[in-house]
Chain length 212, copies 2
Amino acid sequence: MKDHIVISRATIDRLPVYFRCLRHIQEEGAEIISSEDLGRRVGVTPEQIRKDLASFGEFGKKGVGYYVRDLIRNIGEILGLHRNWNIAIAGVGHLGWALANYRNFISLGFNLKALFDVDPMKIGQIVNGVEVFSCEKIPQIVDEYDIHIAIITVPASNAQSIANVLVECGVKGIWNFAPIRLKVPDDVRLVSEDLSVGLSSISYYLSREYKL
Amino acid sequence: MKDHIVISRATIDRLPVYFRCLRHIQEEGAEIISSEDLGRRVGVTPEQIRKDLASFGEFGKKGVGYYVRDLIRNIGEILGLHRNWNIAIAGVGHLGWALANYRNFISLGFNLKALFDVDPMKIGQIVNGVEVFSCEKIPQIVDEYDIHIAIITVPASNAQSIANVLVECGVKGIWNFAPIRLKVPDDVRLVSEDLSVGLSSISYYLSREYKL
DNA sequence: TAGATTGTTAATCGATTAACAATC
DNA sequence: TAGATTGTTAATCGATTAACAATC
């Protein structure tokens, strides 16, 4: 990466999209792809793609395009997907259960190691090959399995205290689905998903176009 | 709304966050809130909040703040949450099942009316009080229940064809969770969630800060 | 070589932040 | 009234788009 260039959040968020599309392209058998063709497939302008990639290095060949295989490897390394992160899910409700069964995380190189819940009925159960532990065991299990990233799918009222425990135990990344703003130290990476935004924004646009 | 002002996507996406926070504030009993205090709670600068709100009207009182009750009603109307949209979920896999059980949608005023799946084992089941219908019945059910918005949680390989059927039947909004770029006509509002982005971006930042 | 396509610089566009007059 | 806080205009910042030289 070129150290003097600031990489925008928008660029980082597009890389996983390129990554997945490139894998499809590879499965289809193509060995070379142009920014023009990739752009058409992911819905991003070719200039944007070239600019995004160029902030990390020169991955393409002028007059030719990008070698699919190499670009997949390069983007994978930029995103750190080769590092085999260990992850855990706190909160085995409907959403936590769904994410525990989500195939795509494995294909991205994340290893789901543990689930946590407070419900005695759930503790000890095996979901998708992974055990549900009591939340009281978070310190022990995070340490034992070397958990790097936690997914929070507990109710909003418990999310901050669970986050505190996880951070205390050394978790360095949190992917939060609880509808609340979590506070974590600066050295912990926090990404929050807010599922009410998507549906509400559709409602907003429909309200304007589509009078009842 | 002031017709000559262009409302940014970012503004629309912040409104649901303000909305939920204001409801919490109302539950806590406060009747008035300043942009300063609201900003602190949602993690947005007060200037940004005032600008967002001001693009739709004058909802505050100078020297006083915003009346919580009024602001909730106003933002709700801006977002169209008072319109009682009928929604359906296509794909009752893990994620579709989780979303079918998600409480927050109801509290936002969305009515889940139907689920669709191709699996004969699932057809006829009742999930959270809502029936699973065969995908072949989409035209009939969308018409009968007047479905406005559909959530797509089918596998990527089927997502576009399901979207085509839904659009054909008159669905005007699609919230897509399948990891693929859907194409829909201009008059259909499409919002896509890409669950690989959140986790990948955490991986990106951790890779830089946290050498193994 | 000629055509194609990248990587990079400059121009444009849009969103956020700062400042402040209006006014409760 | 004085203090507080909004709504709005101007300044800044950052991201995208356009253009093109480099080169395969």
